[in-house]
């Protein structure tokens, strides 16, 4: 039975923490993880596997844990799939096991195990194909079995934060190697960030009790961390995982700020995403121990030797009373000795190797631990917990076992199949890996970014070497960052160098024993239930590339991404194919290193902050007056202003009618405005717009169309000539930024000889558009120095002046087809202007109108909206605006208009559309066909771009793009949508005031 020792460990026995796992209450201490606390309480069964629902306990003590995944917390704070090994215990913690029903112990899903012979890797590709219609049902069933935890609930109660950071040296991993590097860099005054995903620094020192500078290793750790914390420009972040290593030394870190607490401290985020730009990176990420692939190696109680050691030293938890150990390398000998010293029985240490250094053997002998050389564990007994193991002699070729089966009674098995340097981040950084035959592991090779890999991550498993390595990397980083050392450099830390050991015996699968044991499952990927025979099957079936093997068997695709399994899988595949491991290669390491919360990646940009909301100076007025808003680019513009009892149609009709018959008021602030100055400004516009600009008089305005080089309309707007060399361009609201970039790109890269400056002045002015037959009366009533008579202030001109005491620039342009003035005032005066207009306009029942009414009004007079009548495939000629296309000059897009297809006569052209049913507002986006009642595929000749009810016309009307439509006015076509169709007559796209006299009034 597992349990807690009376003394030792980095836990606080004086404080007792209560927690729940699957409805049972347990107790633990600060310093515990959920995993260690459960073990201390004698709990071993912690989860069920993905496919066969086999009972599972802990394999590891760190981030590599594949089995013990729990759902933590409850309600909206619940989070699935957390590794119990990484969950720090707090008082009141609630956790639940997953992937089981109804309970962890009695899980119905376990029946899957019975059918396991039918479910080898990739079985689903071979079946469930008949009958065709049945796949739906099969799939439904498959899905119920899949997945691990349950989805969280919406309504996350916590917040997440981002943090940009810059440093000279980013040290990833706070074990001896990383600490040595960080210490060196910090002492020289460098900007250092040191991170470790553990709850405390020390890395393997926390678990193995090694000494540094002749003192307990953890004392040295405390000193180094204190140094860093005291330094002005260094930070040490525990509970922080480097999740991604991107281009140009950009590293993302995920800090668990509040996860170890019942709830994050007030105001603090739960997690924080760091985005670090480091001049140098030191990767000191350590190494992960490999399990051994042996029969029933997934039973609760079969654990990595380093995990057994870590639980012992960190939390004073013994994983069992009798712990057998099996290894292929030297590192497990310490574990045996320490277990024994803690009063745990160690029935034997079973080493695959034929011989080991005499010193090691002697250490065991001194403790009275039996050493079994050239032996292997061929079977683990026990279902919910280890009951014993069978040991046999291993043949020199490692392919067979022989001799007598020796049963060892034990309640846990500690195993060490060697060590894999944690090269994930190095590989992500673009570095190549090299396979080391002796270690049986991939080591960092060449390439990558400005970084050094040190310590166990570089395949150095000796403490003294790790310290020296780290220290040297710290120095090198200083040099690379150009930091001169301050003062006398301290000595590097020292530790006793270990004596040369015996190389590991790399055996990728331990042969199975005789009889029934021969078919026992030897798990490689514990989480995804991938066995040695699955891998062999895949190779046999021709899935030879390791990438195919991965995808066919799903090995390494679980939440642990194969941290403990990938190299074993490779070894087995290479063996099956008779290839070198180096030739097989690894699968690709990808971010994140360990799973990263989506909420943290989203940070504070959720809800309304998903995207900035832009506000006009009059926004508060619109809000106060009940406007309904719609997003236009990042703006929220009033769509209409409903009065009590009005629906949208009623409100829009009222607004349209009021504007056409008396006076309307529109917030037009959002239009893009670009100030264009310079002696070549007119020439520049000539190249940008389709029409001519050189002869436009100062004081006048002109409508322009811009094309992309492919000849298609890109933007439009009115541009005014403010001076000989000075223009004021307006653009559509959504395109303002794109147009300015467009102009700059031409000026700077193609035509640098043009002397022109473009500046955005969009935000400078508030713009109120007054529109309607009474607009002039209103303007005149405001008082000021402007003469609004048609002669003094004709259509398509502008003037500066004072209006109701406000300095203003007034453009007499019209988008509604009515007599209109666009009044520009300083943005800060927007509300003052608006309120003045509302007050003064009351005499004419001035009516604020929104974008919807604006759309109706402009459509009545046939004005287009870019992005509505156009969609990137429409030329000016298609729009009937050939008069605006200059023949006399070149302009962007001109040549494209002459291409065979673009010059074709029967392209889709803009027309008006009058439904025969005058009250039928056909949907925008409805298609147009020649005749009703045809069966699909029905040839479509066009589509509806805009469609409204016009209270002025007293009928519905629309605009459309129709093949050859320009020549088909008067003909009847069918408008089709959702299985309906309605006849409508084509007409010129001008429904009201075709000669434009109202705007010119």
């Amino acid at each position: 039975m597992s349990g807690r020792l009376k003394s030792g460990g980095a836990i606080d026995r004086d404080e007792v923490l209560r927690f729940h796992f699957d409805d049972r209450e347990y107790f633990g201490h600060p310093g515990d993880t959920l995993a260690s606390a459960l073990l201390a309480n004698g709990v071993r069964l912690m989860g069920r596997s993905f496919k066969y629902h086999r009972p599972r306990g802990l394999l590891a003590a760190g981030a590599e844990e594949p089995n013990a995944l729990v759902r933590l917390r409850s309600g909206r704070a619940a989070e699935p799939n957390l590794r119990a090994t990484m969950v720090e215990l707090y008082d009141g913690l609630v956790a639940e096991s997953q992937n089981r029903w109804p309970t962890l112990r009695f899980d119905v899903g376990e029946v899957n195990s019975l059918f396991a012979p039918l479910f080898p890797a990739g079985f689903y590709y071979k079946t469930f194909m008949w009958p065709a219609s049945a796949w739906k049902h099969y799939e439904w069933a498959i899905r119920r079995f899949a997945g691990l935890g349950r989805a969280p609930e919406p309504g996350d109660p916590d917040v997440y934060e981002h943090r940009h950071a810059h440093c000279d040296v980013l040290v990833i991993g706070g074990g001896p190697a990383g600490l040595a590097a960080a210490r060196r860099a910090t002492r020289a005054g460098a900007r250092v960030i040191l991170v470790d995903e553990g709850a405390a620094f020390g890395g393997s020192l926390r678990g193995n009790g090694q000494a540094i500078d002749d003192a307990p290793g953890l004392d040295w750790v405390a000193d180094v961390v204190a140094d860093i914390e005291a330094a002005a420009d260094a930070v040490a972040l525990p509970r922080t995982t480097a999740i991604g290593y991107h281009d140009h030394n950009y590293v993302t870190l995920l800090e668990r700020v509040g996860d170890h607490l019942p709830r994050p401290e007030s105001g603090q985020p739960r997690r924080r995403l760091w985005k670090v730009r480091a001049r140098r990176v030191v990767l000191a990420t350590g190494a992960i121990e490999r399990p051994m692939v042996l029969a029933d190696n997934d039973r609760p109680g079969v654990m990595l030797a380093s995990a057994v050691q870590s639980y012992l030293n960190r939390q004073a938890v013994k994983v069992g009373e009798r712990v057998a150990i099996t290894t292929n390398n030297d590192s497990a000998y310490d574990v045996a000795v320490q277990l024994k010293a803690a009063g745990v029985a160690v029935p034997a240490l079973i080493d695959l190797r034929e011989e080991v250094a005499p010193a090691l053997a002697e250490r065991l002998a001194a403790q009275g631990i039996e050493l079994l050389l050239a032996r292997a564990v061929v079977q683990v007994h026990g279902k919910y917990g280890v009951k014993g193991v069978d040991v046999m002699r291993l043949a020199p070729d490692g392919e067979r076992v022989s001799g007598e089966v020796r049963r060892l009674d034990c309640d846990a098995l500690a195993m060490s199949g060697g060590w894999n340097p944690t090269v994930h981040l190095f590989s992500q950084s673009g570095g190549r890996l090299a396979f080391d035959e002796t270690l049986g592991a991939f080591l960092p090779g060449t390439g990558g970014q400005p970084a050094a890999v040190v310590g166990a991550a570089a395949g150095r498993f000796d403490l003294a070497a790790c310290l020296a390595d780290g220290d040297a990397a710290g120095l090198a980083a200083l040099e690379a960052a150009g930091i001169t050392r301050k003062g006398r450099m301290p000595q590097g830390p020292a530790a006793e160098a270990s004596t040369a050991g015996t190389p590991p015996r790399n055996l990728w699968q331990v042969p199975t024993g005789p009889g029934k044991a021969a078919t026992a499952k030897r798990f490689v990927d514990l989480q995804n239930d991938v066995t040695a025979s699955d891998l062999a099957l895949a190779a046999r079936e021709g899935y030879r590339s390791i990438e195919h093997v991965k995808r066919y068997t799903t090995t390494g695709m679980g939440t642990d991404q194969g941290k403990t399994s990938n190299v074993n899988a490779l070894g087995i595949v290479a063996g099956t194919l008779g290839q070198e491991i180096s030739a097989v290669g690894t699968t690709t390491f990808r971010p994140p290193y360990t799973p990263a919360t989506f909420g943290a990646i989203a940070g504070r940009h959720t809800g309304l902050n998903l995207d900035p909301i832009r506000r006009t100076p009059m926004q508060a007025w619109h809000e106060a007056h009940g406007a309904v808003f719609e997003p236009v680019g990042q703006w929220l513009r009033p769509r209409y202003y409903p009065r009590a009892g009005e629906d949208m149609a009623a409100a829009v009709n009222r607004e349209v009618k009021a504007t056409r018959t008396s006076l309307g008021l529109l917030d037009a602030t959002t239009l893009g405005k670009i100030d264009i100055q310079g002696q070549d400004a007119a020439e520049f516009l000539n190249r940008i717009y389709t029409n001519g600009w050189k002869r436009l008089g100062v004081g006048r305005c002109r409508y322009g169309l811009m094309l992309h080089e492919d000849g298609m309309v890109f933007d439009d707007g009115v541009t005014a000539r403010l001076g000989e060399n000075h223009f004021h361009m307006t653009t559509t609201s959504g395109n303002a930024g794109a147009v300015l970039s467009w102009l700059e790109s031409w000026l700077q890269t193609e035509w640098p000889e043009l002397r022109v400056y473009c500046n955005s002045v969009t935000e400078q002015s508030a713009v109120a558009g007054v529109s309607g037959p009474n607009a002039r009366l209103l303007m005149e009533s405001l008082g000021g120095d402007l003469d609004f008579s048609p002669e003094a202030f004709p259509f398509m001109t502008w003037q500066d002046g004072t209006l109701a005491g406000l300095p203003a620039r007034v453009f007499r342009v019209s988008f509604t087809g009515e007599l209109s003035y666009e009044i520009n005032v300083a943005a800060s005066l927007g509300t003052a202007l608006w309120e003045t207009l509302m007050r003064a306009g009351a005499a004419w029942d001035i009516t604020p109108f929104g974008t919807e009414a604006m759309h109706v009004l402009r459509a009545e007079v046939g004005f287009i909206i870019v992005g509505q009548e156009t969609d990137g495939t429409v030329t000016p000629i298609d729009l009937g605006l050939e008069a605006m296309v200059s023949g006399a000059k070149d302009f962007i897009g001109k040549r494209s208009l002459a291409r065979a297809d673009t010059a074709r006569g029967n392209r889709r052209q803009l027309v008006g559309l009058l439904p025969e049913d005058p009250y039928l507002v056909v949907p925008e986006g409805a298609q147009i066909v020649e005749r009703a009642g045809m069966a699909p595929p029905v040839p479509m000749i066009g589509h509806v771009t805009s469609s409204y009810f016009s209270p002025n016309l007293g009928q519905a009307f629309a605009m459309a793009l129709v093949e050859g439509g320009g020549a088909r006015h008067g003909e009847t076509v069918q408008v089709c949508w959702d299985g309906r169709s309605a006849p409508a007559k084509l007409c010129p796209p001008k429904f009201l005031d075709p000669d434009g006299s109202r705007a010119r009034a």
């Binding site: 699935p80 989805a151 991107h246 990438e547 995808r551 799973p595 492919d710």
Partner: protein, 416 residues
């Protein structure tokens, strides 16, 4: 070749699965073939399969520089649909959907085509107009399509955030019920197995490094495994199309960009359809294994690196958390990138070239997985007959000269 079935599975289980044959051989390339396909992605393998099965050309080979399916076929979010705007595209993609429906049985390999429906969300009036335009066009073209208003969207996909006060509220959505997802790797493997069975050599680890062209006619290729001759060569190399074009002295209107995707940790079923949003850029489905498969955006610069930048992931995840608030406490498991071949009009090129006997099938960009069977089918026809099928006739390279583009920006604006 063992036929796959429940029966054969049971029989093999009895023998410890020791007798399964390889799904496709690994032959040495021959010095010459009747035709070559360059690129062992889904499209290339499908082309080979249909050349063999529909046109009787069996002395052919697929040359793949790495492992089959290792390009975009193996890294896409597997969305299959045919609700494209233009007649030409909807016909082509719908033909593919027809083929998808029978594909598992045709190949005797379960590609798990799951018709769980695809929704495209509208978040503003412009989206509504454009998406409905597409629905109406689809209906008239005989492509199944429906328009759902907000309440119907909510009912169809209860976990979506349909709050009208959202920053970009959901106003409605298109729904294509016949659409869905499939198991991407199985598509490559299934076609490879099917082609292999008909005699096609699927040659992996064989990179084409040059073309042998004489008098404007293609004669063969140089590869890392020697020269291979053939009078007809189809290039189906997706992200690497420009590289191949350069080797052949041609220019293409294509740029290669990184497109990223990611998966969440696996969770119990919660999302039974596919959701795509253009304005709030993300697309999401849940695989049969339980992970959410999430499509991100493309980086704006050219790259052949099969990895993208982190800001693209951030942007996608923001959208994910907004549309599916439950994901806030869920974790990203893995992210990766592919190299997509983007055409200016967001439509593919399936075309003859100025070099006789040399054909290109490329430009599928962010959305070609769905077309895999259809693309292979028409390309096989084009290669076998030396003239396009009517379904792919509009998708020539010459359309960029004449201006007769097949503009699918709206339908393709979300990478999918």
């Amino acid at each position: 070749m063992t036929k796959y079935s429940l029966l054969s599975l049971v029989r093999n289980a009895g023998r410890g699965h020791r007798d399964w044959r390889e799904a496709w051989r690994s032959p040495e390339p021959k010095p010459s073939y009747d035709a070559l396909i360059i690129g062992g992605g889904g499209h290339g393998l499908a082309t080979a399969y249909y050349l063999a099965s529909e046109h009787g050309l069996t002395n052919i080979a697929v040359l793949e520089k790495g492992w089959i399916g290792g390009g975009n076929t193996g890294r896409n979010t597997t969305i299959i649909r045919s609700n494209y705007l233009e007649d030409a595209s909807s016909r082509l993609y719908d033909h593919a959907v027809d083929l998808w429906e029978g594909l598992s049985r045709e190949l005797n390999f379960n590609v798990m085509f799951s018709q769980r429906g695809v929704m495209n969300l509208a978040h503003n009036e412009h989206d509504v107009r454009e998406l409905r335009r597409r629905v109406h066009a689809n209906q008239l073209n005989g492509v199944d399509a429906e328009w759902l208003w907000r309440d119907e969207v909510q009912a169809f996909c209860p976990v979506l955030n349909c709050d009208p006060a959202a920053r970009y509220p959901i106003l409605g959505a298109t729904l294509q019920r016949r659409a869905g997802v499939a198991r991407h790797d199985a598509v490559a493997w299934g076609y490879a197995r099917g082609a292999d069975r008909r005699g096609v050599d699927v040659v992996e680890n064989c990179e084409v490094t040059g073309f042998i062209i004489r008098n404007g006619e293609v004669r063969g290729v140089e590869t890392t495994r020697g020269e291979i001759r053939a009078p007809k060569i189809g290039v189906v190399t997706a992200g690497h199309s420009s590289v191949m074009a350069t080797m052949a002295g041609l220019r293409l209107p294509i740029e290669s960009h990184p497109l990223q995707a990611l998966v969440s940790e696996p969770i119990k079923p919660i999302l039974d359809t596919v959701v795509m949003s253009n304005a709030v850029h993300v697309y999401v489905s849940q695989s049969d294994k339980g992970e959410l498969v999430i499509g991100a955006g493309a980086d704006l610069y050219n790259s052949y690196a099969q990895r993208g930048s982190f800001p693209v992931i951030e942007e996608t995840v923001r959208a994910l958390v907004e549309l599916f608030p439950f994901t806030s406490r869920l974790s990203m498991l893995r992210s990766w990138g592919g190299i997509v071949d983007i055409c200016p009009d967001a439509s593919p090129i399936i075309s003859k070239t100025p070099v006789r006997g040399l054909y290109f099938n490329c430009g599928w960009g962010t959305g070609g997985f769905k077309a895999t069977p259809g693309s292979g089918w028409v390309f096989a026809h084009t290669m076998a007959r030396d003239e396009p099928h009517s379904l792919n006739a509009p998708f020539t390279i010459e359309r960029f000269h004449s201006g007769a583009l097949v503009a699918e920006h709206g339908a393709a604006a979300v990478a999918h």
